[in-house]
């Protein structure tokens, strides 16, 4: 690889300047790999837990600048990696019968014998009185759409009427109308409805700590506010990014369920200038910051929940030079820890002034110099923790900037689309669905300007959804 390209990959890429820069070099070598569509492969593509390599990584290592002294510099590594990748293309590291190259091209994992490209089975011949197999089946979609969004099947009469519409175009138009109708249903947007189901793993409620409606045994906080903002952001003509960037709150009204934007709620304490959607709610700070000085849990949870990147699984690692600094003295500079903490710690710094429940006076609020005021004893350097941090190797001055970068990222669009792919198709996108998936999230981000309602209209038109 040309050294100038290497410099470009390491120095200028906004997406993939990891240290080492393996992920970026991989994507430069295989730009059409599904692993590289708006993201980069996780470290686990080659590693068990960095630096320990899996079978694919081990086969690469043997061919990576053979004879050169170790450790390789980042530059030498980046120069040598493409040749090593090429050298193992025809091999089958995990012994699953698919070559490494075919797995890279099809989006499966060359180090995992259980991850293998699906054999493309041709559609069988024959007829079928009930299903249009292997192609988009409007009748199949009608039933599925009503079940998914309204929560119940159509009746026999409704299905008959649907089939008797004069043309496929009219049937399609009718489905659009039905989808909009069902997106207003209680089943979809009401309390404990489908949108709330998407939100559960992000908000992670604990019933016994619930305050307000449906109180728990030790009422600490009302996470229904978080569900309200989430649902609001996913409905009507609202921008889904506001789940991270909102400086307002949302109130849920019932009979029927409506979500209403408000500037203040009695259950919320963060001041407007420092709000960042569901990252700074009373519940988020209570549960994910809690008593901690440097709330890595909060940062990693938001990264996982809204950007689909789980640092604990070595996803989304963008190591920042000279990190981790270990300001709170947790020993994260050890080699086994630094691999992840070089990303996680700078990701966390912008949370430094958001208090959890360690102080009754400043509960769940933004507190300037919070660490200096309340956590002096944690470590001698705790006060040196900056508020500026990094996300995707991009410097951000504070959490609101963090939220904006996150919300504008491809990762956010991919994660949002993945949420609904899982909900409505039943699994995360499979390699054979990759082309439709990529087209869908890109339209969500660009043409649809992050409107989930429009994303859903696109999604129900995919073959992944509608072809039996």
């Amino acid at each position: 690889m040309d050294r100038r390209v290497v410099a470009l990959v390491i120095g200028l890429s906004t997406v993939a300047t990891a240290k080492p820069p393996a992920a970026g070099v991989f994507c430069t070598t295989y730009p059409t790999s599904p692993e590289c569509a708006g993201r980069q492969p996780a470290c686990t593509f080659c590693h068990v837990a960095a630096p320990q390599r899996n079978v694919f990584g081990a086969s690469l290592e043997q061919r990576l600048a053979p004879g050169a002294a170790r450790p390789l510099s980042d530059g030498d590594f980046a120069m040598a990696l493409p040749a090593a990748l090429t050298a193992v293309e025809s091999l089958d590291a995990d012994g699953d019968g698919a070559t490494n190259l075919s797995e890279i091209q099809k989006g499966t994992l060359p180090a995992d014998g259980n991850s293998v490209p699906a054999a493309s089975t041709p559609c069988g011949s024959g007829t079928n009185p009930q299903y249009e197999v292997c192609k988009y089946d409007l009748r199949f979609v009608y039933r599925r759409l009503l079940l998914d969004f309204c929560g119940a099947s159509p009746t026999f009469a409704q299905l008959k009427t649907f089939k008797e519409r004069p043309s496929d175009d009219e049937r399609r138009a009718f489905l659009e109308v039905e989808l909009d109708r069902c997106l207003s249903s209680e089943f979809w947007r009401g309390k404990n409805g489908q949108l709330w189901k998407v939100a559960h793993p992000k908000i992670r409620p604990v019933g016994s700590l619930k305050q307000g409606e449906d109180p728990g045994a030790i009422p600490l906080s009302d996470y229904y506010d978080d569900y309200a903002l989430f649902a609001w952001s996913q409905t009507d003509d609202h921008d889904a990014r506001e789940v991270l960037t909102a400086d307002f709150f949302v109130r849920r009204l019932t009979g029927p369920t409506r979500y209403e934007k408000v500037q203040a709620l009695a259950s919320q304490k963060c001041d407007q200038a420092h709000r960042a959607g569901n990252m700074t709610t009373d519940w988020a700070l209570t549960y994910f910051v809690m008593f901690t000085a440097l709330p890595r849990n909060a940062a990693s949870q938001m990264y996982r929940a809204y950007l689909g990147l789980d640092i604990a699984k070595q996803e989304g690692l963008f190591a920042v030079p000279n990190e981790p600094q270990d300001y709170d003295g947790k020993g994260v500079q050890q080699a086994a820890c630094a691999a992840c903490h070089a990303t996680l710690d700078p990701l966390t710094y912008p949370f430094r002034n958001y208090n959890g429940i360690s102080s009754a006076m400043y509960e769940t609020q933004y507190v300037p110099n919070r660490l200096e005021l309340g956590f002096r004893d944690v470590s001698p350097r705790i006060g040196q923790t900056p508020e500026a941090g990094f996300i995707f190797n991009q410097r951000v001055a504070n959490l609101r900037e963090w939220a904006q970068v996150a919300a504008d990222s491809d990762a956010f669009a991919i994660a949002t689309t993945t949420d609904y792919w899982k909900l409505l198709i039943g699994h995360p996108p499979r390699p054979e669905e990759n082309a439709e998936f990529v087209a869908t999230w890109k339209r969500f981000k660009n043409e649809h300007q992050h409107r989930v309602q429009k994303l859903l209209h696109d999604l129900v038109k995919t073959e992944a959804y509608g072809a039996p």
């Binding site: 089975t121 041709p122 559609c123 069988g124 011949s125 024959g126 007829t127 079928n128 009185p129 009930q130 299903y131 197999v133 292997c134 039933r143 599925r144 079940l147 929560g151 119940a152 099947s153 159509p154 009746t155 026999f156 299905l159 089943f187 189901k197 559960h200 793993p201 992670r204 409620p205 604990v206 019933g207 619930k210 449906d214 198709i425 039943g426 699994h427 992944a464 072809a467 039996p468």
Partner: protein, 215 residues
């Protein structure tokens, strides 16, 4: 089975007042069973299990029951609540099950059957107690606790009605044949109320079929 309700049903059937005549459902348009060898098959297997809310809603709608009444364990606790996880639901506030299981559980078929029996028994008993306002099982000639004609047109009509309600289509000829056979089998089985048994069983078979519970 709660014996006291069954006794009421039989008593009403045998009472001196003849039941009001209620028309049976329209006869089905029975479809010819296609040859399995020539049937185009799915290669993606693009199916999902309905889960507790949809199953409950669909069973309620098919049988015109209130969703809250579809099935209750010990007469009090909604089956979809008690068996929520087994039916593929979530339980975020208590044990912190934030996402549904991607596959059906070993006990899922059993709890689906419980839901179906509960709903079907209710509908059958409501229709038998008040035949003039019967919703599904209407116009079915009975001689005491038996079907007057287990292979009669009215039986076929009920099969069609149940299939339309549960599976949103007309029945195939093999389905009609098999469910008529079920009527005959129950008639000869020695069970105390073969007519009721057949109605409940037909409803159960349709609602708990794989075509009903997956989509």
């Amino acid at each position: 089975m709660r014996p006291e309700l069954s006794t009421v049903v039989v008593a009403l059937l045998l009472s001196a007042c003849p039941p009001a005549k209620v028309d049976p459902p329209p006869p089905p348009v029975v479809m010819e069973q296609p040859d399995a060898g020539g049937l185009a098959r799915s290669v993606t297997g693009n199916l999902r299990f309905k889960g507790p809310e949809r199953l409950n809603a669909d069973f309620a709608a098919a049988l015109e029951l209130q969703p809250a009444d579809v099935c209750k364990e010990l007469g009090q606790y909604a089956c979809v609540g008690v068996h929520n996880l087994a039916m593929g639901g979530v339980d975020p506030y208590g044990p912190g099950v934030y996402e549904p299981s991607p596959v059906t559980a070993v006990t899922t078929p059993l709890v689906v059957e419980r839901l179906a029996w509960g709903a079907c028994a209710q509908r059958v008993d409501k229709d038998l107690v008040a035949p003039s306002s019967a919703v599904v099982f209407r116009g079915l000639p009975m001689t005491g606790p038996r079907l007057t004609k287990p292979d009669g047109a009215e039986v076929v009509a009920i099969i069609g009605e149940m299939t339309r309600r549960g599976l949103l289509r007309e029945p195939y000829e093999n389905e009609v044949t098999r469910y008529v056979q079920l009527a005959k089998d129950l008639d000869g089985s020695g069970t105390a109320e073969p007519a009721r048994a057949w109605m409940v069983s037909l409803c159960f078979a349709v609602l708990s079929s794989s075509e009903s519970v997956f989509y």
